[in-house]
């Protein structure tokens, strides 16, 4: 339980850097464009351009690169799977034969290519979440979405939901741990049995957890009403966002990089 208490919400690492101080709206927008770019370009040089850009950003942010690699860990499985699938299923010049499976030269190239694309995508999103606080993210998303208020996008409600979700993740994780321990103390066994049994054994965890979450939601709603919450109308913002010189500079530089990536990135 102590372990979870010490984790900060999300991946955010607080540092005093130019990147950290950038307006979150700009960061979100640029990250979106970079992601689209990564999907659309299809040359190694293009990838290199984006790669240099992203890693310079990380260096500027003063965040220890090991955190970026930590962010890769959960998806490492996906990357390796992608590699292997492409190795073994692409037609072409066979280089290696293992049992009934054969690795082709085209497969190798294609595999690494797609894996690199995945890698860059993960780095791009990690970069955003490592350097932007949860409030920054939700504020930024709310402001960006409110542009679409005229077509009834509930920008405030979405942001409110995200904030509350982020706030309660550590709390609910702690709760889950407590529930698991209480059930184990009653002899529950979560380790043994086949897949079907293991899923059934989750019921004593899932039901109390859901009920707990609903109780919290109920009490929270009452507390919010007592604090005059009535939806997004008429609300002001504690944290003001303003576009400064650095933001404009960052925007221009990023766009130039994107253009460059497309120039080298499409054939």
């Amino acid at each position: 339980m102590k372990f979870i208490r010490n984790l900060t919400i999300g991946q955010y690492i607080h540092k005093e850097s130019t990147i950290h101080r950038l307006d979150p709206r700009i960061k979100i927008l640029i990250t979106l464009f970079i992601i689209i770019t990564i999907f659309l370009i299809n040359t190694w040089v293009g990838f290199l351009v984006v790669g240099i850009y992203l890693f310079s950003g990380i260096a500027l942010s003063k965040v220890n690169p090991k955190y970026v690699l930590l962010g890769l860990r959960p998806l490492l499985f996906l990357i390796i799977l992608t590699l292997l699938i492409h190795f073994f299923t692409t037609q072409g010049e066979v280089i290696l034969k293992i049992w009934i499976l054969s690795i082709t030269k085209e497969g190798l190239i294609r595999g690494f290519f797609i894996a690199t694309r995945l890698f860059l995508l993960i780095i791009a999103t990690s970069w955003l979440t490592l350097t932007t606080s949860p409030i920054g993210l939700t504020d930024g998303i709310e402001r960006l979405l409110s542009i679409f208020k005229s077509i009834k996008v509930p920008a405030h409600e979405i942001a409110m939901m995200m904030t509350i979700a982020l706030r309660f993740i550590p709390t609910l994780m702690e709760e889950t741990e407590k529930i698991i321990k209480a059930q184990v103390a009653r002899g529950a066994d979560f380790d043994s049995g086949n897949i079907i049994n293991r899923i059934k054994n989750m019921i004593p965890i899932i039901i109390p957890l859901f009920i707990n979450a609903f109780h919290r939601a109920d009490e929270l709603a009452i507390a919010m009403e007592a604090r005059c919450y009535r939806g997004g109308n008429g609300r002001t913002h504690y944290r003001t966002l303003s576009i400064k010189r650095n933001d404009k500079l960052f925007f221009i530089i990023s766009f130039l990089v994107i253009i460059l990536a497309f120039v080298f990135g499409k054939y």
């Binding site: 919400i9 606080s133 949860p134 709390t171 919290r216 009490e219 507390a223 919010m224 007592a226």
Partner: protein
């Protein structure tokens, strides 16, 4: 001033047995009061508390806060600015990802200007002694600290009345002391009216006036000293348990020892006993 004018309230699922959660409640709460509301489970304490800020509306009678009726939909938000509420579970009242932003939540809701917000947030945090922790995330705080943040959130709204519904029930002794000391200070220095709901006589003994609820009705009101003078039978009827110190005083005075049977706290007891031994 808060006026309960012949208020009655019925929970909807009690239609059959006609059990009122609140029945003919008539009480005035004046500015600067420091009141405890005590009663057994089901006596209507929480229901009473929720009527003060209009979370519940009476089926009969009216609740008037600063000349505004809680039934008035135009005025309810004004009322909720004036009446701040602290609930039992410290976790389920904090909404934002940092303390600072949580205090600002209420201010954002009522459209306070950005320039004024910062000042109010700092002032409120300072009053409860949590200013250095402004950037902390809620789940890293102790129970007592969380409740102080909730109190600060109400203070930032420039609340005049603070209603606390069993706020220490989930706290350890240290947290309980923190909260009691904080509200005493707020009542004394900022003249905030405190209405404190509790189960425990030892807590209620620290207040200027106690309202005892029984089955939805006001059974007794008075200073702690007056309540403590009730007979054993009367106390049992009201489901009240004397704190150990007062119990001892009662036992001694029943044996003829010259000690007032309604001693409130340990210090007073020591003082009185020193005169005898």
């Amino acid at each position: 001033m808060i006026i309960f004018d012949n208020v009655s309230y019925l929970y909807h699922n009690n239609k059959d047995n006609n059990l009122f959660s609140l029945k003919n409640i008539n009480i005035d709460i004046h500015n600067g009061d420091f009141i405890a509301v005590i009663g057994a489970n089901g006596s209507g304490k929480s229901t009473f508390a929720k009527h003060i800020n209009g979370l519940l509306l009476p089926q009969e009678g009216d609740v008037i806060v600063n000349n505004m009726n809680t039934k008035d939909t135009d005025k309810i938000w004004e009322i909720r600015k004036k009446v701040g509420m602290v609930f039992q579970n410290p976790d389920n009242q904090l909404v934002a990802t940092t303390i600072e932003d949580d205090i600002a939540f209420g201010l954002e809701n009522v459209g306070i200007d950005e320039s004024e917000m910062k000042e109010r947030v700092e002032w409120a945090l300072d009053l409860v002694g949590m200013l250095e922790m402004r950037n902390c995330e809620p789940h890293l705080l102790s129970g007592g600290q969380k409740q102080k943040v909730v109190i600060a959130g109400a203070l930032a709204m420039h609340t005049s009345y603070l209603v606390l519904d069993e706020p220490t029930s989930m706290l350890d002794p240290k947290g309980r002391r923190e909260i009691l000391d904080t509200i005493k200070k707020l009542n004394r220095d900022e003249k905030i009216t405190i209405i404190y709901i509790t189960h425990f006589m030892s807590e209620a003994a620290e207040f200027n006036k106690i309202i005892v609820l029984k089955r939805g009705e006001i059974a007794l009101t008075g200073t702690p000293q007056k309540i403590f003078l009730q007979s054993d039978e009367q106390l049992k009827q009201l489901n009240l348990e004397l704190p150990p110190t007062t119990m001892l005083a009662r036992m001694l005075s029943q044996k003829g020892i010259k000690i007032p049977p309604n001693i409130l706290n340990k210090e007073e007891m020591v003082e009185k006993l020193c005169l005898l031994i």
